[in-house]
Symmetry: C2
Subunit: 513 residues, 2 copies
């Protein structure tokens, strides 16, 4: 540890840095970062100078969920889990960290975004980057060749917030995957059906599901004349077409990636194509594309996929879009991505949300994505045995934001508890009687609360109900105790009725169905 004088010097210097940034009106993020460093230095001093110099915040790119956000989150999860269960999925869970080497070589360029744990002796560990690689590791480790499972958990990415504002470094993924050797395109179609069902039930407005195939992309690159070793990098560039105009994408291809204008233009023709089954059929006749065996395999599967999607009644939202590329290395066949059509207004940042999420109205963009990855499990199997897999991941954070905004705008209050009745009293010295009655209710399975005060005012008891949405109050007084009744009050209508104590449980149940 540095000595005290050194730290005090460092504090002085850092204080100047902060003052300078503030006077220059630097970004809030930049200032926060430097203030954090300053407070950390102060904390190092210990003693009175360091006392209470805590940086009272969550880690960069993360956030707490308050009870209201949790109530919304629960609602969203219930819809998603119901859908997964409707489709017969089991669920598994894996640890939040994996051996570092388990994640190595799976994410291409994005590997630099992986959080590593400090080497404190023992194994080298990293926080999971997605749920797909741990799933593949799980299958190989347990020699499972057949499973339909969902997994809902947080994943971690050290994303650069300057580039991708509004994104979090800790966020939920809701994954559904089907592993096993099956007839072509049936599980793939079910994944799309699931995305369709979930986005419909969440009532997020109109959406589209774009579909493409890695083999079609590769075939297209080949027939356009892209050298083999540039497939990956050109794929990344094509992937930007949802955020950039073709002109800029072309510029990147030519200037940065070294393609000729001619090749780029050929790609440009293909990637502007969108359609359905008909487009797949047409491209199978395309004189150039049909020369690629890979492309033909992809196009034939695409045709088959659409015929299943028709049976599943979801073709109204699915588009075969040749510009869809997706970044991850491990896809081998069909890929897809769901985008919402609406533009969402900027959320009002709450006090707990200082990090990210504070940008002006943006298109919500992709809320689900996935594809087929037939080679990933084999990377883990000691003998390289492959297990074909296809899956989809629902990106929940953006959906949460939309739901939160909808809740803000709605007149209906979000309840954060499910309490059915508050046990109250207007008179003094009845705490014991209140606790006794509350116990009766709890023991009968009723959700009940009681204020933790010996002699609370009736008004504050009623206010607690109004604030938290408790619909009923069970009021005890000397007279009620004598008569063996409880006064049951409807908070909204203010109606009161005496209920025999023996009937209270049934009465509460009846009124809070």
């Amino acid at each position: 540890m540095a000595d005290k004088a050194q730290i005090q010097d460092a504090i002085k210097t850092q204080g100047e840095v902060v003052r300078k940034l503030k006077s220059e009106k630097a970004s809030k993020e930049q200032i926060d970062e430097e203030v954090a460093k300053l407070l950390q230095l102060k904390a190092q001093l210990g003693g009175d100078e360091g006392k209470h110099a805590f940086v009272l915040k969550t880690a960069k790119g993360t956030r707490d969920y308050n009870p209201k956000q949790m109530a919304i989150r629960e609602k969203v999860f219930n819809i998603i889990i119901s859908c997964f269960k409707r489709h017969g999925a089991e669920t598994i869970d894996t640890p939040v960290f994996e051996l570092k080497e388990t994640l190595t070589g799976k994410y291409g360029e994005d590997s630099k975004l992986i959080y590593d744990l400090k080497d404190q002796g023992g194994e080298l560990l990293s926080l999971r980057y997605d749920l797909t690689v741990p799933f593949a590791r799980y299958l190989a480790m347990n020699k499972i060749t057949n499973i339909k499972r969902y997994h809902i958990a947080k994943v971690y990415r050290r994303d650069n917030p300057a580039m991708t504002r509004g994104r979090y470094r800790e966020f939920y993924q809701c994954d559904f995957d089907i592993a096993g050797q099956y007839d072509a395109m049936i599980p793939d179609a079910e994944c799309l059906k699931i995305v369709y069902e979930i986005l419909s039930e969440l009532e997020l407005g109109d959406f589209r599901i774009k579909v493409n195939d890695r083999r079609i992309l590769d075939g297209m690159f080949a027939v356009c004349g892209v050298p083999d070793e540039k497939f990956r990098t050109i794929c990344s560039t094509v992937d930007k077409l949802d955020k950039m105009a073709w002109e800029d994408v072309k510029k990147e291809m030519v200037n940065e990636k070294g393609l000729s204008e001619e090749i780029a233009d050929r790609i440009g023709e293909y990637v502007s194509m969108q359609g359905g089954k008909d487009l797949a059929e047409r491209l199978l006749q395309d004189p150039k594309l049909s020369q690629s065996k890979q492309a033909c395999a992809g196009l034939t599967d695409m045709k088959q996929l659409f015929s299943y999607l028709e049976l599943f009644q979801v073709t109204d939202k699915v588009v075969f879009d040749l510009s869809l590329a997706r970044g991850l290395d491990y896809y081998t066949g069909v890929i897809y991505e769901a985008v919402l059509s609406q533009t969402v207004p900027a959320p009002v940042p709450t006090p707990t949300e200082q990090n990210g999420a504070d940008e002006a109205g943006v298109s919500v963009g992709s809320v689900a994505g996935g594809g087929r990855y037939d080679g990933l499990v084999g990377m883990f199997d000691p003998k390289g045995r492959k297990v074909p897999c296809v899956g989809v991941s629902i990106g929940i954070e953006r959906i949460f934001s939309i739901m939160e905004q909808k809740a803000e705008l709605s007149s209906e209050k979000v309840r954060t508890t499910e309490t059915q009745v508050l046990v109250a009293s207007a008179q003094k010295n009845l705490l014991e009687e209140r606790l006794k009655l509350t116990t009766e209710l709890w023991n009968a399975g009723i959700k009940a609360e009681v204020l933790y005060k010996k002699n609370p005012k009736l008004l504050s008891q009623l206010q607690h109900c109004e604030e938290t949405g408790i619909p009923l109050v069970a009021i005890l007084g000397e007279q009620e105790l004598k008569d063996g009744v409880v006064k049951l009050r409807n908070v909204a209508s203010r109606e009161e009725v005496d209920v025999p104590r023996a009937d209270l449980v049934d009465e509460v149940k009846k009124r809070t169905l």
Copy 2:
């Protein structure tokens, strides 16, 4: 990176270490550890030699949950969450990692067990060690002075598996806490009521909840003549009384902690005392203990606590036990711990459970614990404003193990899906019809599956139902299609009945209530 020859040398040496351990019949854990190192070295080589040299395992001290374990976990969580909701709790969530300094100085000696993240630039982060400190940080950060919340999430401790076998490094905690300035002992009593309800509903056999108070412990140490600066460390020694005989505890006090025999014996008299309200009353008259203001405050509260516990009807399981100490630094008042009475047989380790959990039949010990921590929030508040808190944490991993064993022993099969009906066919070329019917069922909210094969055999379709517990099969054939019916088969009874297609949804619902 080291050069190839160096690594090859290291591999050779490490190989000998492993061989030696194996020949010496060292513990599985020790061998696994060294094998892991060996494989990591091999992986460093890359190329063919490193290929598939993955260590196919989860990180030390962690495990996957397979679908069966998840089904049991869901059941346990449902019971716990229902109880928390019955008591009117909201829920929150916090990030899996916190700023390192947020955790600093909260856990005493246990701080060395905290997982740190690697410094990859930016903030210094640590994985959360419990849910209590993040909760206090959340309250201070959002200036919340009143809340009753639960939080179910994983926490992380680099525990030494040699010392605490059968424990995990990643494990769930289910916390319920009440923050706010209330009349004494009412929220404290509710926490105990909650432990009582949860352990009863989980049907884990008999249990006891031990209660004590930090102020009683401190007062007791003072009147016994323990010097102030030794309170903490003697407290840790007393805490071992549930695992060690008094004689050994005394030895530690005298030989390691430097107490006189006389003082140790005085402590010994007190810590052997157990009782209820009566014991608290008797100790308030104790000539020595009554001289401590602190002890008297604790004892008066203990009396009050027991009178509320009587109203809550839980005194049959609660014991005032002066030997209960609990390790964490932040407790300031009442503390408690629940222990199961039964001794649990050693679980049969599953293939996914190589880490830990493989020890011989042991007493399950503590499954819940908590207490009052009135000072913790103030440590985060810039002005040191205190928010009194009391809470309880349910230790779920041990409960899971017991439930898993019960499931193993039970004749009833644990279902891992909720599928109500499988759409099947005995004839060829009916995939499209099967998919169409499945879509009808999904769209009506029925949980339905269909095999992903064009022409599966009826036998394999029926086997899938038997294996996964699907109760109904909807069978389609040419004749059924012509007649507008579906043959509905009960898997268990093998009875079949033709149901008009329009009635199928209602019929499935009726039979799978």
